[in-house]
């Protein structure tokens, strides 16, 4: 089997006394789509932020394309991030900028297109996520939740990254819009030939966008397998999570 695109080993992170990641081991295959499942607050977003270099882990290694990212120089780290796209959990669109500038932000920052050409380029990318070119002149606060997700998706793919992260792309959307966004994600990832990592706690969504799946619980990966097998994995924890049952090995920590 070829070398994984992203390899996590023993990733640990605490915030003050609170242990969030407790030795995460995970391999993400190049050109495949991995979904990470887990309850709220289980450290899924923190894992992604560690891979992106936004949070420094307390321990453990992150390798991308076989290189330990901790050893990268600032310039190399920046060059690596240039090839990664990210859809944030709450969109994180820049509300002081119109949609077209949001979408082309990375291309403009990298000086890959001129400002004059950015509007047309934004219209192309917006079309790929099913939005009209006229949306480009609106501001993020003027958009519905579903449209904001699409714009966030457009911004993540505009610079044609080869790794894309999606943090809960369908949370807060109605089921039909969720399915539409899932479809867009699958299309975009396939067109770019990218490696994708998605966070979700929606089983239908996980089966639609994932090739592989992993489940995180109490700061560790407790299961990995094929996304298609979710629901009948034979792993009591994953099956409980997939079916949304109250009784099982996972006990909700209601306090602390």
């Amino acid at each position: 089997m070829s070398e994984p695109k992203i390899r996590l080993r023993g990733l640990a992170k605490s915030f003050g006394p609170k242990l969030v990641l407790d030795g995460v081991d995970l391999d993400i295959r190049a050109g495949h789509s991995m979904v990470i499942l887990g309850g709220s607050g289980s450290g899924k977003s923190v894992t992604l932020k560690c891979i992106l270099g936004l949070i420094a882990p307390d321990a453990g290694t992150i390798e991308i394309d076989g290189r330990d990212v901790a050893t990268l120089s600032r310039a190399d780290r920046r060059a690596l991030n240039d090839r990664i796209g990210m859809l944030f959990q709450n969109g994180a669109l820049f509300d002081s900028l119109p949609v077209w500038e949001n979408v082309c932000f990375k291309l403009l920052a990298q000086k890959r297109i001129a400002r004059g050409a950015a509007r047309d380029r934004a219209a192309e990318v917006l079309a790929q996520v099913g939005l009209a070119a006229s949306v480009g002149d609106l501001y993020p606060s003027e958009l519905s939740g579903g449209m904001q997700k699409r714009v966030g998706l457009a911004r993540a793919i505009a610079a044609e990254p080869d790794i894309i992260f999606f943090d809960e792309p369908t949370t807060g959307l109605d089921p039909i819009m969720g399915a539409v966004i899932d479809g867009l994600i699958v299309d975009c990832v396939r067109r770019l030939g990218a490696t994708a990592v998605s966070i979700t706690h929606d089983m239908a969504s996980a089966r639609r966008i994932g090739d592989d799946a992993a489940m995180i619980h109490k700061g560790r990966i407790v299961w990995t397998g094929a996304a298609a097998s979710l629901g009948q994995t034979g792993n009591a924890m994953v099956d409980q999570f997939a079916r949304g049952e109250r009784e099982g090995p996972i006990e909700m920590e209601l306090r602390k």
Binding site: G53, G85, F88, A92, D95, F105, A109, A159
Partner: protein, 267 residues
């Protein structure tokens, strides 16, 4: 039994004090590093000229009404106060000098600085703080953009350059306020009042005030950006950051004003 317990209490107190001091030193160190990083981007391309202009207009142009009103009233009050006060030892003639020196050396820069702290320091802290808690600053990282270079450097540069400009206006309007009261109410002849104003005024009086203004502009924008950049804890955190920015920059303005005055005027 008794002595150890008392010792314990003393040690507890010392530890608490030590923690406080360490936290303060860490804060000062953090701000200093942040300022150094922001300044290093002034000479490292790419430059965000558009953002600098936007910040400059926001600070200089939109603070103009507030600063102008403050300056006019301060000049008027100064004239009245010094006239009635100095009448006690027959020194009413010094009104024009007192007004112009107080305004250019001291009150112009300090009051403009405090006004801008309230307007701009708070606005920057709220804007950048909101970007922090909604992951927009993290998003900048993933979009090939250094957040300090993009958000902080243009604002600090704009503040440092805009405040002297505002203070030039404040100086002129402050003197005008004094002249207005002097000629309309206190019975000075217009020509004599202006002559008294400019006869004793030296370039250094104005220049020292402009140097102070630049320092205050730097402080206000730096603290606004820092408090926003390090804010956390949702909407409440942003509220705290905004308050902290205004309080910290106001106190720093007054403290730095003393230091600069001592440096520039004590011989």
């Amino acid at each position: 039994m008794r002595t150890p317990r008392r010792l314990d209490r003393v040690l507890d107190l010392t530890a608490a004090l030590g923690r406080g001091v360490i936290a303060m030193l860490r804060g000062i160190g953090g701000v200093a590093l942040f300022a150094a990083e922001a300044l290093s981007h002034v000479v490292r391309p790419p430059f965000h000229g558009r953002l600098f202009l936007r910040a400059f207009v926001e600070i200089a142009w939109f603070s103009l009404p507030v600063v102008a009103l403050t300056a006019v009233f301060t000049g008027m009050v100064l004239a009245l106060q010094s006239y009635t006060g100095f009448a006690r030892f027959n020194a009413e003639g010094a009104v024009a000098n007192v007004v112009v020196l107080s305004i250019t050396r001291e009150l112009g820069p300090v009051l403009a600085g405090l006004m801008v702290a309230g307007r701009i320091g708070a606005a920057f802290a709220a804007e950048i703080g909101t970007m922090r808690v909604t992951d927009q600053i993290d998003a900048l990282h993933t979009l090939s953009t250094d957040p300090v270079k993009y958000l902080v450097t243009p604002r600090i540069l704009a503040g440092t350059l805009a405040l002297p400009l505002l203070v030039v206006v404040a100086d002129i309007l402050g003197v005008m306020g004094g002249w207005l009261i002097g000629t309309q109410q206190l019975g000075f002849a217009s020509g004599a009042y202006l002559k008294a104003t400019f006869d004793f005024l030296q370039p250094w009086d104005v220049i020292s005030g402009l140097i102070k203004a630049a320092a205050f502009g730097f402080i206000v924008t730096l603290m606004g950006c820092w408090c926003g950049y390090t804010s956390g804890g949702g909407a409440q955190g942003v509220g705290r950051a905004t308050t902290a920015a205004v309080v910290a920059s106001s106190i720093l303005i007054l403290a730095v004003d003393y230091v600069l005055t001592a440096l520039m005027f004590s011989r």
